[in-house]
Each structure stands twice: as structure tokens, then as C-alpha cells.
């Protein structure tokens, strides 16, 4: 099956959406949202990545095998970061036996 040619119109719409999202994330960062600063910034970055990946990189039109390769990369990165955070946030909540070296 030959991959369809994506229309110029689609590329322009995706490009404008990316610019809007970039402006939005810069604008939102001028407010202090506490811990939500990071959450909102990462959500917008992920939306931008999805737009670039699906349309500029044509993942929307790719067979399952290619998508599996992409998902694998992110899955292992997710494992790495998730387990590091599990360590960092629980390190001090495990009581140490008295008298054992730190």
C-alpha cells in the first residue's frame, strides 16, 4: 500500500497549531501555578510532540511495526523515569534500623 501524500493544507494547520501552543506555554509560564507549572508545561510539550510525530513524521499513516518501535523507545524511557521517581520520593520514608550505617 502506497503511503498517501499529505496535503499542504494539513501541514499549514499543524504548523499554526504548533506556534499557538508554543506561544501559549510561554504565556502560561508568566503565572505562578506552583506545582502545576511543570504539569501544564509538560502537557503542552506532549501535545506539540504528538502533532510533530503524527503529521510531520507521518506516524498517522505508518504500519503497526513502525509505531511499535516508537512506543518501545518511550516505554523504556518511562520505566527509567518512573522507577527513579519511586526511589527519590520514598527514600526517606523507609525507617532505618537504629545503629546501622547510613
Amino acid at each position: 500500500m502506497e503511503e498517501p501524500i499529505v496535503s499542504v493544507r494539513t501541514y499549514v494547520i499543524v504548523f499554526v497549531s504548533l506556534l499557538v501552543l508554543a506561544a501559549l506555554t510561554t504565556y502560561i509560564a508568566s503565572f505562578d501555578l506552583g506545582i502545576w507549572n511543570t504539569a501544564v508545561a509538560m502537557a503542552i510539550a506532549t501535545a506539540k510532540m504528538a502533532l510533530v510525530g503524527l503529521f510531520f513524521m507521518h506516524l498517522w499513516f505508518k504500519p503497526g511495526l513502525t509505531r511499535v518501535a516508537v512506543v518501545c523507545g518511550f516505554f523504556w524511557l518511562g520505566l527509567l523515569i518512573a522507577l527513579i521517581l519511586v526511589d527519590v520520593f520514598t527514600r526517606n520514608s523507609i525507617p532505618r534500623a537504629i545503629g546501622t550505617p547510613l
Binding site: V12, F15, T25, A29, M57, L77, L80, I84, V88
Partner: protein, 235 residues
């Protein structure tokens, strides 16, 4: 079986429409399969690149969780307008790159070269701003290890070592990203030459498609670096 087939050449008994495309390598059945194998290959490479940068991202996440205040203060030391300008420039370069691939597929050699040159110019502009920013950091004495003497006004009470660590992440992550940009500009220069020679066309656009995937990947890395380094400090 004739000798011709054994040697990997076309079987002369095939009907005309079954004769292989001149660009088809002998170990593939069809052009479509050859192209899919090529894009799968570059995607597997990009998956390893995700993990290559991923080590730095994971380290950043851990250190920021532990030394939160130092990272907040460090983020405030970066010039947000520079970061935003670089983001817009890189997104525009991704758009021109996508248009270059599109031009190759629709068979317009002139537009292909124009969009490739635009992409290279935008990439170079990005690097220009990046190195200007590095120079500014040097003048502000904010380069870890070599020239790090922050004022107490800059530190805002955060431990100097933690701010220095944030700036280490800043230089390593943006430096590795800049290195990828320089390699990308090199690849696109080769593509421009191939385009000018007419070696890229509607039948043979794998080179440009694969180069485009690499360029977009580098853009995606910056999409995450920009908020993580410049924005998360809040104001």
C-alpha cells in the same frame, strides 16, 4: 532456472508490469517493502536516540526532585525570550522540512531545494541565538566549572552548588542538542546537493524522508528542553 535469475538479475520471462523498478535492491520484493524497511530502520535508530537523551532527562528529573529550589533559581537565570525565539525558529524549520519532503514526493525539484535551504538557514539561526546565549552566560560568570561566580542577588538564597548543577544540565542538554543540529545541517547540505543533481525525485525520496525524520526528532527534543529549562521556574 536460468543463470540470469541466479545472478540476481531480472527474469526475462516475467510480464512487463512485473519487471522490478531500477531503484529496487535485490534483497527486497517491492519498492514499498524497501521503503518501509528504510523508515523502520531510522525509527529504531530514533528509539535509541530517545534513550540516549533519556538518560539526561531522567537525571534532570531526579536532581530537580531533590534540589528543587536550586533548579527554580537556575531556571530564572535563563533568558526566556531567547528560548521562545529559538522554539518558534525550530518549529518553522520543521515545517519547511516537512514541505521539502512533500516537494520531493510531488516531484518539484526547485521547491525541494528552496525548502531545504530555508531549513538550513533556520537551523543556523537557531544555533546563532544558542551560541549568543552561551556567550552571555560566560559574561555573567554563570558557566559551571570554568567561570562560575554568581552574585547573591542571582542566587536568591539557593545553594550555589545546586544552581551550578542546574546550569550543568543546561549546558550538557542544549550542547548535545546543538551537536545534533550541526549534524542535521550537515545531512541537509548533502540532501541539497543531491536535490540539485536531481538524485531525489518522486520515485526515490527515501533519503530525504529519512533525513526529515531525524530533523523532526531533534525538534521534538527541543520541544521538551524549552519548558524544562526555561519555563518551569514560573515567575
Amino acid at each position: 532456472m536460468s543463470d540470469n535469475v541466479a545472478a540476481g538479475g531480472p527474469d526475462i520471462n516475467l510480464p512487463a508490469h512485473r519487471h522490478p523498478h531500477p531503484g529496487l535492491h535485490s534483497h527486497f520484493e517491492t519498492m514499498e517493502q524497501q521503503r518501509e524497511a528504510g523508515t523502520l530502520g531510522i525509527w529504531v535508530f530514533l528509539a535509541t536516540e530517545i534513550l540516549f537523551f533519556g538518560g539526561l532527562f531522567a537525571c534532570y528529573v531526579e536532581m530537580r526532585a531533590i534540589h528543587y529550589q536550586g533548579f527554580q533559581v537556575g531556571s530564572h537565570l535563563l533568558e526566556r525570550n531567547f528560548g521562545a525565539a529559538m522554539t518558534f525558529i525550530l518549529l518553522a524549520s520543521s515545517f519547511t522540512m516537512a514541505m521539502a519532503v512533500h516537494s520531493a514526493r510531488t516531484g518539484s525539484r526547485r521547491l525541494l531545494v528552496v525548502f531545504l535551504v530555508l531549513t538550513i538557514v533556520l537551523g543556523a539561526a537557531f544555533l546563532g541565538i544558542k551560541f549568543t546565549e552561551y556567550g552571555q552566560k560566560w559574561h555573567e560568570h554563570l558557566v559551571p566549572g570554568f567561570n562560575f561566580q554568581p552574585t547573591s542577588e542571582q542566587l536568591k538564597g539557593a545553594p550555589a552548588g545546586n544552581v551550578e548543577m542546574f546550569l550543568c544540565f543546561y549546558f550538557f542538554m542544549t550542547g548535545l542538542h546543538a551537536l545534533h543540529m550541526i549534524i542535521g545541517i550537515g545531512i541537509l547540505t548533502v540532501m541539497t546537493i543531491l536535490g540539485l543533481k536531481g538524485r531525489i525525485n518522486a520515485d526515490r525520496y527515501s533519503y530525504i524522508e529519512v533525513s526529515g525524520l531525524y530533523w523532526h526528532f531533534v525538534d521534538i527534543i527541543w520541544i521538551y528542553l524549552f519548558p524544562l529549562l526555561y519555563l518551569v521556574g514560573g515567575r
